[in-house]
Amino acid sequence: MRMWKQLRRNGILLFLLFTGLTVFAQTPTLNLTGKVTDAKGNAIPGASIAVKNTSRGTSTDAKGEFTLAAVPENATLLVSAMGFAAKEVKPTSKHLAISLDENVKGLDEVLVIGYGTQKKGDVTAAIASVNTKNLSKQPAGNIGTMLQGQAPGVIVSSGTGNPSAQPVVLVRGLNSINNANPLYVVDGIPLGYAYDINPNDVESISILKDASAATIYGARAAGGVIIITTKKGKSGEPRVNFNSFYSIQRLNNNLPLLDKLGMNKVVRQAYANDNTTPPIYVQDDSKYANSDWVGAFTKQGIEQKYDLDVSGASEKLAYRLSYGHWENSGTIINTGAKRDNVRLNSEIKLLDSRLKIMPIVAYTRFNNQNYSDVDGDGNAGFSPIMEVYRTLPHKRIYDPNSINGYAKPETELGSGNPVGERMLWNGRSIDDYLQLNVAADLKLWYGFSYNFTVGKNIVNSYTYSQTAPYDFGAQSFVENPSRSESRGRTEYTLFTHLLNYEKQLGKHNFKAMYGFSREKNISQGTIGSGNHLSSPLIESLSGLIVEGKSDYIRVNGWNYGNNLQSYFGRASYNYDDKYFVQGSLRRDGSSRFGPLNRFGTFYSFSGGWNIHKENFFNIPWISELKPRVSYGTVGNQNVSNFQYLAKIYLSGSDPFLNYPFGGAPSQPVYVGAIAATLANNNIKWEQTATFNAGLNFSLLKGSVSGSFDYFHSKTSDMLAETPIPSSSGITAMPLTNIADMENKGWEFTVTYRSPADKDFRWDVTANLSHSRNKIIRLGYDEGVIADGFVDFNNRGTTLTKKGQPLASFYLYKTDGIFQSQAEIDAYKNKSGELIQPNAKPGDLRFVDTNGDGQLDDNDKQLMGNGLPNLDYGITFNASYKNFDLMIFLNGKQGQKMYNGAKMFLYRYYRSADLLNAWTPTNTNTNVYRLSNADENENMRVSDYFLEDASFVRLRNLQLGYTLPQKLATAMHLDRLRIYAGAYNLLTFTKYTGFDPDLSNTGIFSRGVDRGYYPMSRSYVFGLNVGF
C-alpha cells in the first residue's frame, strides 16, 4: 500500500503505464547505410541522422558513415551536423550519399531552452548561447570563470583569487537586493550552483535572460537561468580524448608596503605631529627584525587539469564516460583545492527508438584546504590577507628554537604570528557530490510525447580542523591541540513529468508542453568540537578530554528542508516560419512561504517576425532580420525557511543568549531562549516583470551576425533582511518584502567570421552590455539601508535609498589638502565659526556640500556604485594552416570601488604611500599629513578612498598548433593539439588596490574592497589528444 502511494504520488506509475502502451505500435521498415560529407567530399563525423517525426536516429562515425535499421518506408531523414545546414533526405536507395552545405546562418542550430529545445531561428526570447569552442580554450577549473566575457549580459567577477572560491555570476546586472544569483539547470536538474561540474563535460550552455525564456522556471528565475547540457556519445566507433593543461601562477601583488625603517620613520612622524610619544618599538631603528610577511605567506601556485573521456554510440546505445582531475595548489601557504569528476552519460533506445532512456551518473569529489575570506554585507571584517599585510615587519617569522619553529613576538609588538598560525592550523573539507538522473522520452501518438525525469543530487560534506598548540602571545595562544568536525548531508530529489505536443498543419506550426514537478530538499548535519585532545598525534574526536573548567566538548547540528511543487506549460505557434508567438505559464508552490502566500503564478508572452522571409523583403546583403518582443514575470523564493513563523531562538553553544549564574567562580552557564527576530506572516513571492525588445540580424551571407536587446524590468516586493530600529529589541533583522527596483539596460553582440575556405581564417566576437538599476520603493516610511561597513559594524560607505541605484557610495566629498593655517581659518561659516576647527595644515578639506556652515552627515553625497556602466568582452580567434590563436580581452567601464584595503594600510602605517605624506616641506602631494590622533578625521568615509575601478584585462592569450592529419594518423592519433598561453597577463586600470575585478559579493556592499585573496597571473601549457 505504501509503495503504491509512493508510486502514485511521484508519478512513476504513469511512466510505467506509457511504456507498456507503446509496445503495441509497429510499421513496415527498411535498412539503410550511408555516408555524410561536406561540399568538398570530406567525411563529417558525428553528423546526426534522425527519422523525422520519430525519436529514432543515429550519428556518423569517424569516416562519416552510418547504418540505420528498420526505417519506415515512407520516412524522411533529417541530417544535421554542427556548422552545417540541416537537410531533409528521402531514402531513395539503401545506400545514401548525403552532402551537407556549411551553415552560414546558424539559424537551424538547436538551442536548449527550459524543458525542451528550440531552433535558433524560432527563438523569440532573449537567450544567449555560449560558444563552447571558445570556452574549451579557457584554462579554468570551473564553469563560472569560463563564462567571463563570453555572453552579453552575463557579468562574472572573480570572487577572490582563492582557488576554491566561487566566482560571482550576474545575469543582466543586479535585479534584486535578494540573492540575484542565476539558477543553474544541469541536464534538467535545477540547482543553486554548478561548480561541481567539470567544464570538459559541458556540451552547451544557454543563458535565459528575459522573462519570456525564464518564466518556465518561475519561482527561481529572477536572476536568470543558465542551462548546462553535458556531453553525450556521438559517433559510432569509441573515441578517446585526452586534454590537459598545466599552469604556473604568481600572485599579482601590487600594494607596496613599508619595511621596518620606513614604518619607524612614518610612525614617529605621526606621533611627533600630535606631540605624543610613539610606541616603543619604532623608537630604535637598530632593534627588531625586518620581516617580509607577505612573502612568507604566499607562494607560487600550480594549477593542473587532466581530462580523459571515451565516447561512442551505436544504434541502440550512446555513451560517454569521462574522468577529470583538477587541482590548484593555491598562492597562499597551506591552501589549495582539488576536484575529481567521473561522469557516465548514456542514452538507450528501446521500442524501435520510440523510447529513449537517458541515465546519467556523475560523481564529484572536492578537497579543499580551507581559506576563509571575509565577504558579504554587514560587519566589516578584513580578510586574513589584510592581517598579514598589517603585521609589523618588526616581528620575527621563524624561530628555530621554539617548539614549532615559529617565533613568538616580543611582547611590546603584540600577539600573533600569521604564518605560524596558518601553518599550525589544518582545516580541510572533503565534499562528495553525487548526481543520479534518469530521463525517459516516450513518443506517443498524434504528435504527443511524454518525458519523465527523476533526479537526485546528494551532497555529503565533511569538514574538519585541527590546531596544534602554539603560543604567539596572549591573544594568539592555543593551549592544547583542539579539533572540530562537521558532517552534513543534503539530499535533493526531483520528479518532472512533461507532456509535449507538436503539430504541423500546412503552414501552421504548433508546439505545446505541459509539465508538473516536485522538488524536495533536505539538509541535516552534525558538528562536534572540543578544545583539548589528549595528544596532538590523535586526529579524531575520540581523543578529546575534559580535564578542567576550561575544557569543553560540544555538539551541535542542523535539520531542515524545503519543498517546491510546480505546474507549468508553454505553447508556441508560428505561421510559415515568419510570424512567431509564444506564451508560458508557471505556478509554483513553496514551503518557504506561509499558507497565505504559498503559491505564485508567473507568465510570459513573446512574439517575433522573420522580416527576411517576407516576399517584399529584398535586400540581398541582409540574410536575417528578426525583431522580437517579450513581456513576462519571474519570481524569487530565495529566502530561508520558516520566516513566516514567530521563532524562538535557542542559542545552544552560541554565547548570544546564554548567561551564567551561581555562587562560586566558574559558574555553570544557563541556556537562554527568546524571540530574536520578528515573524512575517505576510511574506510573499518576490516578482520581476521584464519587457524585452530585441533584434537578431545576419549580414553578408552570415559573415556578420549578432543581436541587440533592450530590457526594462521591475522587481516588486523584493525579499531582504530589513534593517529595523534596534530600539525594537530585535537583534536579527527580519525578512520582509522590502523594496521595488527597476533595472534597465541593453546588450549587443556581434560576430564576424572570415570565409571558411581560406588557409587564414579568423573570427571576432564582441559582447557589450549595460545595465542600471534604481530603487523605486524602499521599506516602510522611506527608510534607507546603509552598509559597506569599513570599521566593525559602522562607518558605512554605501547607501541604498529610493530613487538611487542599489548600494550607491555615500561619502564625504574632499577638496584637496589644507596648505596653511590661513586656509583653515578662511574656511568658516556665516557666523564666523571654523568648519573644520580640528584641522591642521596637511589635513584634508571636506566640503560643506549643503552650505549650512557645518560639517555633518548631511554633507555626504552619493557618488556612483560598484556596478560597471559597460561590461565587455572581445574574443578573437584566428587560424592559419595548423596554427591557431586566441585573444580574449575583457573589461568593465565606469565601476567604482571603495579602496578599504588602502584605508586599512593607512590606518596601520603599512602603506608605502605614507613616505610621501604632506609635510610643510613636502606640500606637492595628495597624501594627507601623518597624525595618529587624526583629529580632523581624515580617515572618515570620503571620496579620498573612492576610486575608478574601470579596467581592461588581457584575460587569455593562447597559441596552439595542431599536428597535420597525416602525422597524427602515423602516430595512431585522430588529433593532437598543443598550446601555450597566459591568463590574466595584463591589466590596464587606474585602481590602486589589489584588483579592480575582485568584487565583494555582498549586495549592499558591492564595490567595497576589504582586501581579498588576490588574483594570480598564470602561464599555461596544454595538450588535446584524440584517439
Binding site: 504520488r9 504513469l14 502502451l21 506517443l444 504527443f448 596572549a474 591573544q475 593551549e479 508538473f516 575534559v546 573548567k549 576550561s550 560540544r554 542542523w558 531542515y560 511543487q565 508552490g589 514551503s591 499558507p595 513563523l645 514567530a646 521563532k647 524562538i648 535557542l650 553553544s653 554565547p655 548570544f656 546564554n658 548567561y659 551564567p660 549564574f661 551561581g662 555562587g663 567562580p665 552557564v669 544557563y670 541556556v671 537562554g672 527568546i674 515573524a679 534593517p723 530600529p725 534596534s726 530600539s727 525594537s728 529589541g729 530585535i730 516602510y780 527608510g783 546603509a786 570599521d791 566593525f792 559602522n794 555633518d856 552627515d857 595618529n932 590622533a933 583629529e935 580632523n936 578625521e937
Partner: protein
Amino acid sequence: MKLKITGLVFSAVMLFSSCSDKFLDLQDKQNLTENTFWTTRQHALQGITATYAALQGHNGDKWTFFEEVFVTMAFKADDIDNNKNEPYGKNMAAFVNGTDESGPWNLWATCYAGIGRANQVIEKVPGITVMTDKERNEIIAEAKFLRAYNYFILVNGYEHVPLVLKFEKDLNKLQVPQAPAADVWAQIEKDLTEAEGVLPDSYSSEYKGRATKGAAKALLAKTYLYQEKWPQAEAKFREIYGKYSLNTNYVDNFNGTRENGPESVFEIQFTGDRSVSDERHPFNFEAAPYALDGWEIFYPSDWVVAEMKKDKTDAGGYSDRVYGNIFFNDPNSKMWDLGTPATLVPYADVAGSLSRPAYYNKYTYPNDRSGAYVGYNIPLIRYADVLLMLAEAANENGKTDEAIGFINEVRARSHAKAITTGSLNKDQLREQIRNHERPVELAGEFGIRWFDIVRWGRGNTAKQAIKTLMQNHQKPFANNFVEDKHIRFPIPLREINTNPLLKQNNLY
C-alpha cells in the same frame, strides 16, 4: 486507436489533477515558535536568562562587550587614557567622533536588546499557568529591574531616547520617536519601585547573580541621586545601609574570590566554564602591559594616578585600594603576568620594558584555569559605591559629618587614613567625593566615572563644566570638547537611517 486515446486521456487526467498541497506543509524541526514557547517554568527561566545575557552585549560576543560597550562607557572619562596606537574608541576619546562611530551604536543596541527581551518576559510570563504566582512575579520583577537598568544607561548616555515598553511585533510600528527624558526617568523609577516590592532578598546558591531586592533599591536610589532628588536618594540608600558589608580585601571585588559576595549588589556575570558556551571577557589582557603579555588598550590617566597617590594610610604608605587599582613604580606594586603559568610580577622586574608609568591592574587576573580571557564578574553596583552615593546624598542634605562617616567606612577597608569629622565643610566634602573618593575607589569601573561627570555637568547642584574639568585633569584632546555636544553620545547614524523619526543630538 481506442487504446491510444484512452492512454492520452488518462495521462492528461493524471497530469492535470492537482496533487495535494500537503507536500508543502513542512515543520520547523529546529526551533520552537511563539505558540509552543512560553508554556513551562523552564521557558520563563530561559527567557529571563536571555534578558540577563544582554548585559554582556547585544550579540553576546566578548569583543562587543569590551571593545564597544565598555570602551564607549569609559573612554571619554578623565580616569582613563586610551592607547592612541589602537583604534578602539580613539575618536570618541579625542572628542572628534562622528555619528557613525561604532561604540555608541553597539551600546544602544545592547541596551535595547535587553529592553526588548525584558518586554517579552513581562508580557508573556503572566500567561504561563504552570508556575506559582510568586515564581511568576519574581521573574517579571527581574525583567523590570533589567529594563530600568538599560534605560538608566540610555537616558544618561544619549538623553533623548525612544521609550519602548512593549515588544512590538508589527513591522510597521517599530519606529518610535524619542520620549522626553523626564518620562524615561519616571519609567525607571516606576519599574524599580515595582521590582523592589517583589524581588527576593537573595537567591539559592545555584541562582546567585540574579537581581535582588537590594539591587533594585540601590539602583532606585542611584536614579534619585542622578536626578538630584537628594532626600529620596538618601532615604532609599539608608534602606540597604548595613544590609551588605565591604569585603575585607579591596581586590576581592575583582579577582573572583568573592563573586556575588557580601559587597556585591549587582554584577554582570561571566564564567570560565566553557562547557556550554564561551562566557568570558577579555578585560584582563586589554588592560595589561605588553610586557606582561597584555594588549594595553587603556591606561589610568596621569591625573587619576596622581590622585591615587594622595590616598595614604596612617603610616604614610599607599592605601590598599591604590595597590588594588594600579601597577606603578613602588616596591609593593605587583601585577599578574598572563603568560603560562601566570605569575605575580613586581614592578621593578618589568619597569624597563613598560611604555607607560602606570597600568590598571584592577581587572587583570589570570583566568580561573588558564588562557587569555577571564571569567570573573564585572561589578555594576557594589556596596562601597552605595556608601559613597549615600554620603553624597547625605552631604547635599546638610548631613556633612554623617557623610564623612560613610566615606570613612570605605576608606577604612583599604586602610586609608580616616577623614576627621568636621575637617571638611559641605562644599569641600562634595569636591572630595567627586574628585577623590569616587575616582580612587571606583577607578575604571563599568559605567561609573563618565556618568558621574555627565550628571555633575548637567545638574543644578554645583554644576561642574566638563571641558574645564577635563582640561584641569589633563585629559588628552580636552580642547576638542564642546560642552553641549560631547556630554551626550550621538544618536547612532545607523539607528536614524532606520528610524527617521529620531532627531540627532545637539551639534552632531
